[in-house]
């Protein structure tokens, strides 16, 4: 029942504030994490089912009449569901301890589960307007979560995020309206067929431009990235992890890729535009990350840069490039989630995010330092961690397709990434122990547990990368490579 992915978090979210009156901490924590664990197990089981039958569509009936609740599952959707539940569960475990001093935990969990439900709904829907709707569901929940601490800079960051997001949503809906006007329908198969039948080059170009502006802003692709460096640092650490690790990928990269590959069909022009924008993100954000003093702001710019890498791999369009992009998507979700959670541990222990004020924390917080090292090296692309393999695949794909220039730029960006991550390591963890921190303690149990789980995943996926690619990434890449045919065959009306 793939509808459970949307319905279960929603129902539990609705019930949580009532439960929160009864038991303020234990019951909401346990219930929310149980839901996330259930979704994770369910997504693995669905993976087995998918491997047996191939992409499928489920239609539901209500009281005997078939209602138009069609949810489609293919490799790409499954990969995103798996990533959302996995990172969501780890962030959830972390939040058990971290959100203690924010108060109103039941409300936090409710908004968190609504955000997860929105992301799941986006990934499973087969209708353009539903994609927009669930995108907004996740976005509205995220505005409140970014501002959750009610401090001045959190509120301001949430407000700016909201402003820019609204413009993006407007562009997306207008593009959807134009597509509805041209093809007379909103569901993926009908739109794909309609666009094939008509001669619609300019209309597709116009709508593609609107979608790039709208979804590009959600994905923080340059030059539409302006909200991210303010929003992600100010949010509470687990929410920064969810936003950087999941939301920008689900509402930005997934939606864009799904529409461009399976509905419009990737043309050389689209591919070129996306590759240039992706390279711009990759390089410019890496340079901007170097000059940051705030650890979370550096991580935020790094997210922009890595999303550029992901889109570069995807936009290439070759099966190897798509596989590399998708693999990097899931690697980055894990590693960036880990890094933001670590920054939360540091912030809770020392009260600061300023790199110049930290120093030598490895002596007092060894586990946090070790997991941070794993996460940093993973994103920087150091073997044998997972990030190395995904970046390697993307670079090989670029070389194979003849884009030498892009490949060289990608390698340079990787070097930059390694540099600023080592900078974080040196400034925050190694070096002389700053006098102020001689009494800090290691982070509490649940926070450490989630960090260790994510670090182990990074190492494990790095070692067993071919197994991961075969089970998770290959079906997703196949679904995308089929292009418009997927819309006709598997989701056919």
């Amino acid at each position: 029942m793939i509808f459970l992915f949307i319905a279960l978090p929603l129902v539990v979210a609705g019930v949580l504030p009532l439960l929160g009156k009864v038991s303020k901490r234990v019951l909401p924590d346990a219930l929310a994490n149980a839901v996330l664990l259930f979704l994770l197990v369910e997504s693995v089981l669905l993976g087995k089912q998918l491997a047996a039958t191939g992409p499928f569509v489920q239609q539901f009936s209500w009281l005997g009449e078939p209602v138009n609740l069609r949810l489609a599952l293919d490799g790409f959707s499954l990969l995103m569901l798996f990533a959302v539940s996995l990172v969501g569960l780890c962030v959830g475990i972390f939040s058990i301890d971290y959100m203690e001093h924010y108060g109103s935990k039941a409300n936090y969990w409710a908004l968190f589960l609504i955000m997860v439900a929105g992301m799941n709904g986006l990934v499973l829907s087969t209708d353009l307007f539903n994609v927009y709707l669930f995108l907004e569901v996740a976005a509205v929940a995220s505005y409140a979560l970014v501002a959750f601490g009610l401090e001045s800079d959190e509120l301001e960051a949430a407000f700016k995020y909201l402003m820019l997001s609204v413009v993006a949503s407007a562009f997306i809906v207008i593009a959807i309206a134009v597509i509805f006007g041209v093809t007379g329908s909103l569901s993926f198969p009908a739109v794909a067929r309609g666009l094939q039948d008509l001669d619609t080059k300019y209309v597709v170009g116009f709508c593609a431009a609107l979608f790039i502006m709208g979804f590009g802003l959600k994905a923080a692709l340059m030059p539409f990235h302006a909200w991210l460096p303010d929003a992600h640092p100010s949010a509470p650490a687990p929410i920064s992890a969810m936003l950087s690790g999941l939301l920008i990928k689900v509402s930005g990269v997934y939606a864009l890729t799904r529409i461009f590959f399976n509905i419009f069909g990737l043309t050389p022009a689209l591919s070129a535009v996306l590759m240039y924008l992706a390279t711009l993100s990759m390089v410019a954000a890496a340079f901007l990350a170097l000059g940051q003093k705030d650890i979370k702001r550096m991580l935020a710019y790094s997210s922009i840069s890595q999303v550029g890498t992901i889109v570069l791999g995807l936009a290439l369009g070759t099966p190897l490039g798509i596989a590399g992009g998708l693999f990097h998507l899931i690697n980055h979700a894990l590693a960036k989630g880990l890094l933001f959670l670590n920054s939360g541990s540091i912030q809770q222990a020392t009260g600061t995010r300023n790199l110049d004020e930290m120093g030598g924390l490895a002596k007092r917080m060894p586990v946090t330092a070790a997991t941070n090292l794993v996460g940093s090296l993973s994103i920087a692309g150091v073997p044998p961690l997972n990030g190395f393999w995904s970046k390697l695949i993307i670079i090989i794909a670029l070389v194979q397709a003849g884009h030498m220039g892009f490949a060289v730029v990608a390698v340079l960006a990787s070097v930059l990434t390694l540099w600023y991550y080592l900078l974080i390591q040196r400034k925050a963890f190694f070096g002389k122990l700053n006098e102020r921190w001689k009494d800090v303690k290691e982070a509490p149990f649940w926070m450490l547990a989630s960090n260790v789980i994510l670090a182990l995943l990074c190492i494990g996926i790095g070692i067993f990368f071919s197994l991961t690619i075969k089970t998770w990434v290959r079906p997703a890449a196949d679904a995308l490579s089929q292009g418009v045919r997927l819309a006709f065959d598997s989701w056919g009306m």
Partner: protein, 161 residues
């Protein structure tokens, strides 16, 4: 048709007024009037449900929320940039001219397939049967909005369990 064009011009006019007026309360009322005109436009386009929703929710509920916020933030008045208000008419006219030229050129250039067959269905059927997932999404976004407002207006609760 002429009435429709007049209503549309009125809609744009009141929206522009809402943006340019200095007094927040008058701007909110101007926006409400624009919503009213849009609702009437919807009625004349054979979209009564959208018209009712537009008038009652946007012209009603959102305007009330605006007034509430304006009342709760008395004393936060800021001086708007005069240059922006002066420059607006120039940009506006320029945009209208470009827009009209582009729209004229595009007429007959955009191909179209026929839409879904709608003879014999009622609005209820469309909403409940054809677009059911939208309803799930609406419930989700309403939850999100309600919990968001609850979270943002919470009193600090310090002693738990």
């Amino acid at each position: 048709m002429v009435l429709q064009i007049l209503l549309l011009v009125g809609l744009v006019l009141f929206s522009v007024l809402a943006v340019l007026l200095k007094d927040l309360l008058r701007a909110a009322i101007s926006l409400a009037v624009a919503s009213l005109l849009l609702g009437i436009i919807f009625f004349r386009m054979n979209a009564p449900y959208a018209g009712v929703f537009e008038i009652s929710v946007v012209a009603g509920l959102i305007t009330v929320l605006f007034m509430l916020t304006i009342a709760l933030t008395k004393g936060g008045e800021t001086a708007e940039s005069k240059a922006a208000s002066f420059a607006f008419p120039a940009f506006f006219v320029l945009f209208i001219v470009i827009d009209a030229i582009i729209m004229k050129k595009l007429i007959q250039k955009v191909p179209a397939l026929p839409g879904p067959e709608e003879a014999g269905t009622t609005f209820g059927q469309v909403l409940w049967n054809a677009r059911t997932l939208d309803l799930v999404g609406q419930i989700a976004v309403i939850f999100a909005g309600v919990f968001a407002v609850l979270a943002l207006f919470r009193k600090g609760d310090n002693k738990d369990e």
